[in-house]
Amino acid sequence: MERSRAVKKVLRKAVVYFFFVLISAFFLFPLIVMFFRSFFTTAESLRIGAGLFPSGEWNWGSYAQAIDSDFLKYFGNTLIVILANVIGQPLTAGLAAYAFTKVKFDGRKIIFTVAMGTIMLPSILTMIPVYKIFVDIGWTNTLLPITVPAFFGGGFLNIFLIMQFIRSLPKEMEEAAVMDGANVLHLMFRITFPLVFPVIALVAVQSFFFAWNDFMGPLMYITDDDLFTLSVGIYNKFFTAITPEESMPNVQMATGVLILIPPMIVFMLFQKQLVEGVTLTGLKA
């Protein structure tokens, strides 16, 4: 009796794990294909029925072809955009969140309500006039339209998120500092922000993902190859190829592996905050 029960339990576990692995295979399928096929030669990557694994030697040449001077140039531009977003968004959002929670200025409720009301707005609705503004002030074909706005907005969802954290802080520390004659800047940067650092980090990480993935922004504003970010540069390099030989699927896959490495590293480092962030805001990176 005891034994059959134990067997049943083990069996149940085995079935559960079997399905865990099966579903994993589904979700990892695109990545596995990308990884193995990045070691194909171009001819092999264009063959029908080529299978999953390289038939002969693993071709590291696709990576050499993927990391050309253009790739490094696009990567450099992307880094500039990321830097601006990772600094700008948490800073703007943090300042606003502090003001909304700690400073009793007139009209804060109205401004807060208006700002929150814009969360549901389709971004495509504001895109055209914003584009025209940047055209009029001559910012097209510069990185400015995709870096400067990061310092003027910060994302209302981010503000909301930081506010929730600031509200949960105990008041005593701040009161003690006020007694000692600390000013607002001191209160913010020495007391409040360090205490809510996890959520500031979360906003920064989400800004990183946003900037790394952004495609429409650079596509709209930049036509000069020297200023392309990775997304747009890679799109122009491969998606406009005419013949299959020019499209080089193996080099595409190698490029994909390379582009995926930084977000994966960031994800592994900030895994806990990100998973919590998704559940808090419902944002999917």
């Binding site: 576990k13 559960v16 865990f20 994993s24 589904f26 979700f27 990545l31 294909v33 990308m34 096929r37 264009l46 029908i48 080529a50 999953l52 300042l95 606003a96 003001a99 909304f100 400073v103 009793k104 200025f105 007139d106 401004i111 700002a115 549901m120 707005l121 389709p122 495509i124 609705l125 504001t126 055209i128 006039p129 914003v130 025209k132 503004i133 706005p149 003027f152 907005g153 910060g154 993902f209 790394w212 993935n213 495609f215 429409m216 596509l219 997304s231 890679i234 799109y235 491969f238 699927p249 994909g256 995926l260 977000p263 994800f267 895994q271 998973v275 998704v278 559940t279 419902g282 999917k284």
Partner: protein
């Protein structure tokens, strides 16, 4: 007297500090949101406005809106609406149910669950440029892996994204199934928030697994259902960049012309007036849908309500 002036001083100080701190936000709100909203509305009433010529050259009225519904554009417009809504009608419910089942399955105390949770979420981290490259390759009609698999199980070759009918949209749907890990995380948060005492009580009363599922789990998760429904519908109506990459602004015979992409294409072709009108139509639909969903909110259970 002194006391009052101290109070006034404090209030002025609070206002100065407050407005200085939200100044960047305020500038951004005006320049990047409020002003564009008004300009877009204004532009949408100038028939075929191109964005750069003086307004006096264009006819004022509802011409752009009429153009979408009845004009020579209406065929493309309705095709785009059809694609977007059929996609939403299938994928929003399917995505919700599948991610819920996934979360249910993962919500057990077994070793290694955390690792599998991460694996299921990983496709959400892939930048759309990378996933577009992968899926265009896998679904390539000539040398793609998917046709190899089809051949192995005896299915006929498919054109996938290149086919000129619904097959392209179905392929797109299949592709987006890889992204349900994000929804799964939200469901998991919902499931974790249910106190285990409820389940114990149901067990004592003799309720089985499905009884607890229908009577406890689903009702208590309803705020999450509501939230995901809104955000997923709104996100679907705005699908743009991945569809752009996969179809290069519409695909064969506009087979992947999602509504967001349709707006973007018109914008790229300098049809500023028309695309503003389309964007406002989208805005109205989003607002109405949010309104309906908020009405449903009444029937949603919130912790602490009576």
């Amino acid at each position: 007297m002194n006391k009052i002036s101290a109070k006034v001083k404090k209030r002025i100080a609070a206002n100065v500090t407050g407005y200085l701190l939200i100044l960047p936000l305020l500038i951004g709100l005006v320049i990047f949101t409020v002003y564009p909203l008004l300009v877009s509305l204004f532009n949408s009433f100038f028939y075929n406005y191109d964005g750069f010529s003086p307004y006096s050259e264009f006819e004022f009225g509802f011409g752009n809106y009429a153009r979408a519904f009845t004009g020579y554009e209406s065929k493309v417009f309705w095709k785009s609406v059809g694609i977007t809504f059929s996609y939403a009608a299938v994928m929003v419910p399917l995505g919700l149910v599948l991610s819920f089942l996934l979360a249910l399955f993962l919500n057990q105390k077994t070793k290694g669950v955390g690792v599998f949770r991460l694996i299921y979420y990983i496709p959400c981290l892939i930048p759309s440029i990378v996933s577009s490259m992968i899926y265009l390759y896998i679904f390539n009609p000539y040398y793609g892996l998917m046709n190899d698999i089809f051949a192995a199980v005896g299915l006929p070759k498919s054109q996938f994204f290149n086919s000129d009918d619904y097959v392209a949209v179905v392929t797109y749907m299949f592709m987006s199934l890889f992204g349900i890990g994000g929804g799964m995380l939200i469901w998991l948060a919902g499931l974790k928030s249910i106190p285990s005492t409820y389940y114990e009580a149901a067990k004592i009363e003799g309720g089985g697994y499905f009884y607890s599922l229908v009577r406890i789990t689903v009702p208590l998760c309803s705020p999450y259902i509501f939230y995901q429904l809104i955000t997923n519908v709104i996100a679907t109506l705005q699908i743009c960049s991945a569809a752009y990459m996969i179809s290069s602004s519409g695909g064969v015979d506009d087979n992947l012309l999602f509504f967001g992409l349709y707006i973007y294409r018109n914008f790229m072709n300098n049809n500023f007036g028309y695309s503003s009108a389309l964007a406002y139509l989208l805005f109205v639909v989003v607002a109405v849908l949010s309104g309906i969903l908020f009405r449903f909110n009444k029937y949603v259970y919130y912790e602490g309500d009576n």
